[in-house]
């Protein structure tokens, strides 16, 4: 397309946006509302993921070594654990180190047990699995290794329930986001179809005087792009202020256990999805909704 055609498209798109002010505002409004909802859900979901990940990282088990285990058994246990494909982290905690930790908490209470002969604590491994949900099965497996006295991983039921709840929350938020995205596509393509319909006469005339399909589409695509960009920028700004305020509120009320993601990284994530989504929806909506009218 020659430069004149490009320029014509830009002028025409802006002119049409202005001429159909009401429609432009309505289309942008719909993009804004849907992306705002989508963005809010993303914020919640991102933070849930963040918390879930943090919780999962804290899921650990402790393998206690039998006092009477032979040197061979200890050695093979170490080799087995280190080479185990399902474990992310394996850390040996000697009975001395365990006692040190205890002493830090209890101080003088355990003073009498600190000598090597009196230390009742066993040697152990602190283990973090790669997939937190596998912890129960892994514990069962490790229990059977020779030289293992027992494996502890917190309350089995609690761990299972926690994962079940997180899974449900994730599924629900995923379903909601999917639903919203479909709604957004539907609404946007519908509004743009309406603007194209209003201008079908113009398109028909263009066809009669020998305009190529791309010449006709180009201003509509630009229009979709502008609507989509505004539609993404406004919710991003709103979400920025909203999230910033939420983080501020959490910090000022000392609710740090909520462990929210920092504002810049969350916004980066939102920009990454909402901007292409908004502009993409705008452009796609234009193309899809005008195809019928171009084929004269």
């Amino acid at each position: 397309m020659p430069f004149n055609g490009l320029l014509y498209g830009v002028v025409e798109a802006l002119r049409s946006l202005y001429r159909n002010k009401g429609m432009s505002i309505a289309s942008t409004g719909i993009v804004v509302i849907t992306l705002l909802m989508l963005g809010s859900f993303m914020l919640v979901r991102l933070n849930i993921n963040h918390v879930t990940k943090a919780v999962k990282e804290q899921v650990e088990m402790v393998v206690f070594i039998d006092e009477n285990a032979t040197l061979e058994e200890r050695e093979s246990l170490r080799a087995n654990l280190v080479s185990h494909a399902g474990l992310a982290e394996v850390r040996f905690v000697s009975k001395e180190e365990a006692m040190e930790r205890l002493a830090e908490i209890w101080g003088d209470f355990v003073a009498g047990y600190r000598s090597a002969e009196d230390n009742p604590l066993p040697d152990s491994y602190e283990i973090r699995p790669i997939v937190a949900e596998n912890i129960v099965a892994l514990a069962r497996e490790l229990e059977r290794y020779p030289g293992v006295e027992k494996v502890q991983y917190g309350e089995e039921e609690f761990v299972n329930n926690l994962f079940a709840v997180l899974r449900v929350i994730q599924l629900i938020s995923l379903a909601l986001m999917g639903g919203l995205a479909i709604l957004a596509i539907f609404l946007i393509s519908h509004t743009i179809r309406l603007t194209v319909f209003i201008r079908r006469r113009e398109i028909m005339i263009m066809k009669y005087v020998g305009a190529t399909n791309w010449f006709i589409r180009w201003p509509f695509i630009l229009e979709g792009l502008v609507i989509g960009s505004f539609g993404a920028a406004l919710p991003l700004a709103a979400l920025y202020y909203l999230y910033d305020a939420s983080v501020g509120w959490v910090v000022s009320n000392n609710l740090l256990f909520l462990n929210l993601i920092a504002v810049p990284s969350v916004m980066l994530e939102l920009v990454k999805y909402l901007v292409p989504l908004g502009t993409g929806l705008g452009v796609l909506g234009s193309l899809l909704s005008m195809d019928r009218f171009v084929r004269v």
Binding site: K207, G210, F215
Partner: protein, 229 residues
């Protein structure tokens, strides 16, 4: 310029043929009326000429190109060489006379300076210089059709196709429009006019192709509206 060989057209297999075995040639620079009762196939023929539709059977050549074999992407370039004039004008009513005509040049990618120079010239040719910045919806039917004509000739097409160009106009205005078309024809542009306007056909005494039930019932040089049997 136009050559139809055994041209047939029907919209689906259950219907009878709208155009039935048409054979004719229209040469460069001719002025041709296509007449016939409603439903005779005039509009269908014009639609075929601008390749809005494809014939069911037969060959139709325009500017030496077989339209039945023309790829879709070439169609815009065919239409740039044909000026269309419609009974209902088909203008952008909310825009000025200037915009409506400039629009056609923009479509072809003409430089802005050329557009600014040509549009007033063409409006002067159709006698509407003083209405250049008027919105089309504020103009009379005759003035609107003059803009339609100006739009049709702005790109200097080799052919003008007019579908009932005087259908919505009073007799005096109709005559003015037809005189403009004749002027365009005298400068070398082929003109094909489908019409019901008996007075106009009789007055101009040009070639007349008579369509009846999709067939060519007659083809006379210097013909009149009612065919001599």
């Amino acid at each position: 310029m136009i050559e139809a060989i055994q041209l047939y057209q029907r919209y689906n297999e259950h219907n009878s043929f709208i155009l039935n075995d048409l054979n004719f040639v229209i040469n460069r620079g001719e002025f041709v009326f296509v007449v016939g009762p409603s439903g005779a196939g005039k509009s269908t023929l014009l639609k075929l000429l601008i390749r809005e539709i494809l014939p069911t059977r037969g060959t139709l050549k325009v500017f030496g190109q077989d339209l039945t074999r023309m790829p879709r992407r070439r169609v815009p370039y065919l239409r740039r060489n044909i000026g269309m004039v419609f009974q209902d004008f088909r203008l952008l009513e909310e825009r000025t006379a200037y915009d409506n005509i400039a629009f056609v040049m923009q479509v072809t990618g003409a430089p802005a300076g050329e557009i600014r120079r040509r549009v007033p010239q063409v409006l002067e040719m159709v006698g509407l210089s003083e209405k250049i910045w008027d919105r089309v919806c504020d103009l009379s039917g005759g003035e609107q059709q003059r803009i339609g004509l100006a739009r049709a000739i702005i790109n200097r097409p080799a052919m003008i196709i007019a579908d009932e160009p005087t259908g919505n106009l009073d007799p005096v205005t109709s005559l003015e429009i037809m005189n403009l078309l004749r002027g365009i024809n005298i400068r070398g542009t082929t003109v094909v006019v489908a019409t019901h306007d008996r007075e106009i056909v009789d007055r101009f005494r040009k070639r007349v192709i008579y369509l009846e039930d999709g067939r060519i019932a007659g083809d006379e040089q210097k013909g009149v509206y009612v065919r001599a049997i």
